[in-house]
Amino acid sequence: MKGDRMKGHAFILGALALAAGVAPLQAQTGVVRGRITDAASHEPIAGVTVTIGARGAQSQANGRFYIAGVPSGVDTIRARIIGYAPASEMVNVRGGDTTNVDLALTAQAIGLAELVVTGYGEQPAGDITGAVTQLSDSQFNPGRIISPQQLIESKVAGVQVVDNNEPGGGIAVRIRGATSINASSDPLYVVDGLPIGQGGGISAGRDPLNFLNPNDIETITVLKGGEASSIYGANAANGVVIITTKSGRSGPPQVEYSTSFSASSVTRLPSMLTPSQFTTAVNTYAPQNSPQLLTGATDWFGQVDRTGYGSEHNLAVSGAGQSNNYRLSLGYLNQDGIIKGTTAQRLSLGLDYAQRLFDDHLSVRTNLRGSRSVDQFSPGGVLSNAAQMGPTQPVFDSTSPTGFYNWPGNSLQSASNPVQILALAQDKGTTYRSIGNAQAAYHLPFLSAMTANLNVGYDYTTGTHDYFRNALLHDQLVNGNGGYQEEYQPNLLNTVMETYLNYAAPLRFMRGSIDLTGGYSYSQSHGEYNDYQANGLSTSLLTTNAFPAARTVANTLDIEDSKLISFFGRANYNLNDRYLVALSVRRDGSSRFGPSNAWGTFPSVAVAWRLSQESFLRGMSSLSDLKLRASWGITGNQQFNNYQQYAAYTVGSAQSQAQFGPGTFVTTLRPSAVDPNIKWEQTTSYNIGFDYGFHNQKYTGAVDWYNKSTKDLIFNVPVAAGSNFSNFLTTNIGSMKNTGVELMLNARLLEGGRHHGLGYTASFTAAHNTNQLTAINPTAGLGQRILTGGIAGGVGTTIQVLEPGQPINSFYVFQQKYDATGKPIQGSYADSAGCATPGTCAVPRAFHDPAPKWILGHSSYLSYGRWDFSATLRAYLGSYVYNNVASNLGTYSEVTRGSPYNLQSSVLTTGFTQPQYQSDYYVENGSFLRMDNITAGYSFNYHDKPMRVYVAVQNVFTITGYSGVDPTAGLNGIDNNIYPRARTVSGGLSVRL
C-alpha cells in the first residue's frame, strides 16, 4: 500500500512541477486581461486560446482571460478557437500595469466552438478526440418525461434506453451494448460534477434518477466509453452520462413557469380467449371443470386498466448579478399509470448558486437538490391474473366476505380475481433524496493558466417500500399464508471529495497548446438496508401503517460500506486545431477487492487529425470540417456486491432450520464460497471515427467504428466440487466482445427563425452492435453453457443461454417442426446435425437474442413563424422477443387446472395440449418502427411576456410483426405479462415573466 501512496503523491507533485516549470520569473512585465465574445450574439466564449508573444491563456466560462508576465512593449494579441475566425489586435503592454483588451470573434463553422462537458473539464466540440455526444435542452424529447434518461431516447447513436412502460419505471441504459453479465451494465451518472454511481444510485420506488427534474437539465453528455470515459476509470466501462443542470443567466431576475396536463391510454394488451372460446375450450379439454363456469362476460384487462391522467408544474426563478448567478426551481409532477393503482409523484426543489470572488480569481458554485418521489405500483399478480382469470366469471360476488368473486375451492391451481388484488393489496415506495455539492475553482493569480479545483458533495437517499396483502385475498387463502406485509428501508449516504489542478496554455518551447489536468478523488459510501417481513397477520386492518402481531416475522439489517480512491491525470495537446492528442490515466483503489487487487490502472490515448485544415483540402470550399479520430482506452467495472473477498457465513431463516431432538429446531450457518483474489472487470476499447461538416456546417455528423473487449468478466462459474463451499464461485472468468458502427447526420435544411419563413432541421442516427460472449472458462477446451432467463411456466424453466460464441442471453430453444398446413406439431422438433437415429436427436440450440442489431433514430424540427413542430421516430431491427404469455397460457393443459386458466389465443392456431416452453415458435422477431413523439407548439407574447403552448403525443404508433404486448419492454426479451405501453397526449404552457 505504501508504494501506491507514494505513486499518488508523486503524480500530483509532478503535475505541479510541470506547471511551475513554465511559471513566470521575469521582471518588467505587465498583465493583459479582457473578455472574448461572439461578434453576433455578444455571448461570452470559453476555451479560446489567447496568446501574446510567447505567453497565453484560455478564456473561462464568462469569456474572461488573464495573461500575466507579458514583456512590456507593443505586441499582437491573438485569439483563436475552432469554429471562429481568428482575431488579433495590437496592444501596448506597460511593465507593472494591466491592459484591458476585449475581442469579438466571428463564427465560421457553427457548433465547433460549443463547449462539451468532459470528465473534469470542458472542451470545444471541435477539439473532442473521443466518442462523445452532447445534447442540450432544445434537442430533448418533448412531452411527459418523468426520468431524465427519456430525454435522450433515440437521440444518440449507440445509446439504447429501455424502460418498463410504467410511469417513471426503472430504466436501463446500454451504451454500445452490455459489457457485463453479473455486474451492472448501466452507465455512470455524473450530475454537475458529482458522480452518483452506475445506474444513478438507489431508490425505494422506481428509477433512481427520478429525483432529478428533467426540466432542470441543461445538457446531457454521453461519453461512450474507451478514451472518452476512461478518466472515470473503474466505473466507466459502461460509458458515462454527464448531466449538467441549468444555472442563472445574465440579466434581470426571470421567473419561468411551465405546466402541462396529460392523458395516457393503453395501446396493446395480451390476446386472450373470449368468453365463448374459453367455454368451448373448457368443455372440450376439461369437461370436469365445466360445472365451475358461469355465464358472464368480464373483460379482466378492462377491469384493471384505465386512462391515466397527469399534471406537472415547474417554477424557476433565476438571475445573475455582476459576480454571481442563481437559479431556484420547484417542480411537482403527478402521473397516473394506465393500470389502476400505479402512479408516480415527484416534488423537487433545486438551488444553484455561483459566486465569483477575489477579482474573479475564485469561483464557487453550489448545487443543492432535494426531492420526494412517491411510486405506487400495481400489486403483484394484477397483470398475470387479468390474463389468467376466466372471462366467464364475474368481478363481484355478494356472498363472499370481501365482496369479490373468486373460483370456488381456493385451489392452488386457480387464478385470482385481479380486481380484488387491486382492492386488498398495496405496493408503494417513497424515496427522499438529496444531493449537494460545492465546486470551487481558483485561478491562481500568479499563474493565470493554472486553476485549482475542489469539489465536495454528498448524495443521500432514504426511503420505504411497503408491500401488503390482506389475509382475505384469494392467494393468501390458497397458500394458507394469512396475510403478508413487508417494509424495506434503504438508506444510503455517499460522500465525494475531488480535487484537481488544471493548466491550460500555449506552449512556450514549441508550437501548440496544452491542457493538463491532475487530481485526486475520494468517495465513500455507507448504506443501511432494513427489511421487515411478516406472514400470518393478526389483523389486516392496519394495512401498511403498523406492524401487527404476526405468525412469522423476519427482520434483517444489512450494512454496506465501500470506498473508491482515485488519482487521475490527463494531457491534451492541440496544434492549431489540426493535430490533437489526448492522454489520460486513472488509478483507482476500491474496497470491493482484496488487498492484492485493490488497485487498477486505466490509461487511454486518443489522436485526431483535422484534415479540413490541411492545405490539400482547403480547395474544397464545401467541406467545412473533417476530422479523423482514433482512440484506445481501458475502463473498469466494479459495480457488484461488497465484501466478495471475505469468507462470510450466511444465517439461515426460521423456515430452513434443522431438527435437533423433539420440537427443537436450530437455525443454520452456512459458509459461503469465496475468491479472495477477485478483481474488476476490464474493458479495452478501440474507436475509429470521423466528424464531418459541409456547407458551413449545414450538414454535420460523425461516423464511428468501435470494438470493446471485456476481460475478467465477473462470472458465477462452476468450481471443482469439494474444493469450495458451493458448486459455483463468483470470480473473474470469461470475456465478451461488442463491435459496432454508429452514424450520425444533422442537416439544417432550411434556415427558419421567426421572421424568415420555414425552418427545417433533420437528424438521423443509426447504430449497429454485435455482441458475443467469447469465453466462459478459458482453462478448458470444452464448450460450456450457463442456462439463464427464467420464465413463467413449469418450475425453474429457463429459456436463454450464456454460451461462448453466441450473443449473451441468446434464446435456447428447439427448432419447431410444422405440418403441411404450417401448423406447429406438438413435441416435434428438428434433430441436430448428424443424427444417427432420426427423431431422437433434438437438442435446444442458441437461436437469436433480445438485443437489437440496428437501432435507428430520426428527429425532425420544423418551424414556421410562431409555429414549431417536431417528431421523433425510432426503429429496432433484429431484436427478438420470447412471447411467454403465449408459451405459458397458449396450451389447453391450462384449462385442466383445479380451476381453468384463460388461454392465450395462439392456442387456437397451435392446438397445443401440453406446454411447449422451449419451442422456437415463441421466439418472435421484435423489430419495429415507432413514432416516439410528435409535437406542435405556438409561441406568442401576452402582455409582453413570451409564452408557448404546445400539444404533444408520445408513442403515436408502432409498426411491428410482434404478436405480444410490446416489443421493447424489458432488456431480457422475455414478454411475461409486462406492463402495457401507454399512448400519452399532453398539452402544456410555458411563460417567462
Partner: protein, 527 residues
Amino acid sequence: MNSRMWQTLSVALVLTGVACTDTTVEPKSTITTANVFTDPSSYQKFLAKIYAGLAVGGQSGGDGNTDISGIDGGFSQYLRLYWEHEELPTDEAVLAWGDVGIPDMNLGTWNSFNVFPQSMYYRIMFQVSLANEFLRQTTDAALASRGVTGSLKATILTYRAEARFLRALSYTHGMDLFGDIPLVTEADAIGTAPNQAHRVDIYNFVVSELNAIIPDLPASVAANYGRATTQAGNMLLAEVYLNAGVYSGSTAYAQALTAAQTVITSGSYSLDPQWRRIFQADNNNSPEMIFAITQDGQHTQTYGGVNFIIHAECGNSYNPSTVGIDGCWYGNRIKPEAYLRYDTVNDIRAGYIFKTGQTEDVSSISNFGAGYMAPKFQNITSAGAQGSNPGFVDTDFPMFRLSEAYLIYAEAAVRTTSNLPQALAYVNAIRERAYGCAGACAAADITAPQLTLQFILDERGRELFWEAHRRTDLVRFGLFTGGTYLWSWKGGVQAGTATDVHLNLYPIPATELVANPNLKQNPGYSP
C-alpha cells in the same frame, strides 16, 4: 515570491495532504470466519446446516438463497434429487414433467450434460465440503485457540462424529451413483481441485469412518430425533456392507448381517403397528424411525424432499386435501410392475393406490392419467388431522427404518445361508403387519423355501416402495441394466428393452469435468 510560494504550497497540501489511500473496509453486518466462533452456539448452527443440507435447498424457507447454483433450489434439493435418481429410472416411478432433463431420467437416456445428475453430484460434494470445514474448524488445536473446554468441547466432539457420519452418508450416495469420485477430507486445502479416487477407496473410507465414529454418536434415540444416533451409524454401515460387492468388488454380507443385527437387537426400535403412520405427518412418533430427514411445515420448508413427493404424487381428480396439501403437482405415478407386485386385495401397503380416472399402464410418460397414483406419503397425521401447513409438509423422510434392517438381515442371511430361521421370522413380521395380522397369519406368512433372493428383492419393492432404495437394489441384483428384467420405459420404450451396463453409474457432470481437469468420465459416457 513568499506569497507565491505559500500559495503553491497550500494548494499542493490541500491536494496531497488529504490523499488517503487505504481502501480497506471490514464487513459489519456479515458474519465472517474472523468472528463466527466467538459465539459458542455457532458450532451447533454449523452442524445444523449439514443436517439441513439434506432437508432444504438453501438458507431461506422454500429453498431460497440456495446452496448450489445453476438450478432451482427446490428442484435441486438433496433428498428430492436422491429420490429421483433412485426411483425414476426403475420399475417404481415415472414423472410426467417435461422440464429439460426429467424425461431422460425416466427413460435412462441421460448424458453428462443432464442437470439432475449434475446437481446431485454438487449436492453430495457440498455436504462433504461442509463437513470437512466443520472438522477443520473444530480440531483440538482450533478449539484450544478459542479457549473451548469442558462440556462445550465434549458436545463438539459428538458433533464431530455426526459431521463425519453425514459425510460418510453423502460419500455413500456419491460412490453409489457416480462410482469413482474425489475423496476430499478435512486434510485437503480449500480451493484445490481434488484428485479422483476409486470407488473402493471411498468404500474403505466410509467403512473405516463409520467404525471409528459409531461409539461417539449420540446414543439416546428419543432425545436426539433428527440427529444421527448410534444405530443410524450401524444402519449406514449395514447398507454399505450389503452393497460391498458393487462398491469394492468383494462382498461383505456377513458384516452386513452383523451390523443389521446390532440395530435390531439394540432394542431401541420396534415395528410401527400402524404401517401408514411411517409416511404421515406425525411419523416423528413412529417407533420404527432410525434416521429421518426431517421436514416441518413451520421450521423446515422445502419444495424438494417429502414436500415434493407428496405434491407430485397427486393430480387429476384426486383431492389434494386427502393428503393434507394445498394442490397437486401432477407428477409421479406408480409403474404397473411395482403395482402388480402387491397382493392388491390384502396388502395394506397397496391400499392407498388411487385408480379413479387413471390407467394401470403408463402408456404416456407426460400424461398424468397414465399410471395409477400412489399417495403413500401424506401430510395428514395418523389421527387424520392436516399437517401444520398445507404448502409445506410435516412428514419426515425415513432414511433408515427398522423394517429395512430386517430386510438387510434377511438378504444377508440368504446370501450367506446362515441364520435363515431368524431371517424368515423378520420377513414374516414385516408381512404380517402389511396384511394386518396380529401374529402368524396364512395370507401373509411365507415358508422357508419361499425366502429366495428374488422374493427379498420383491419384498423390498413392496415394503420400501418410493423410499429411494430401488435403483441400488436393482444394481446389486444385477437387474438394473441388461435385458434380464424389463419394465415399462426401461431403455426408452414402453415395453422395456435391454440397456447398456454403463447406466449402472450416472455420468460425472460435464461441467465438473471442465471445472476439475483431474477427473475422468465414467465408462460409456462421452465427455
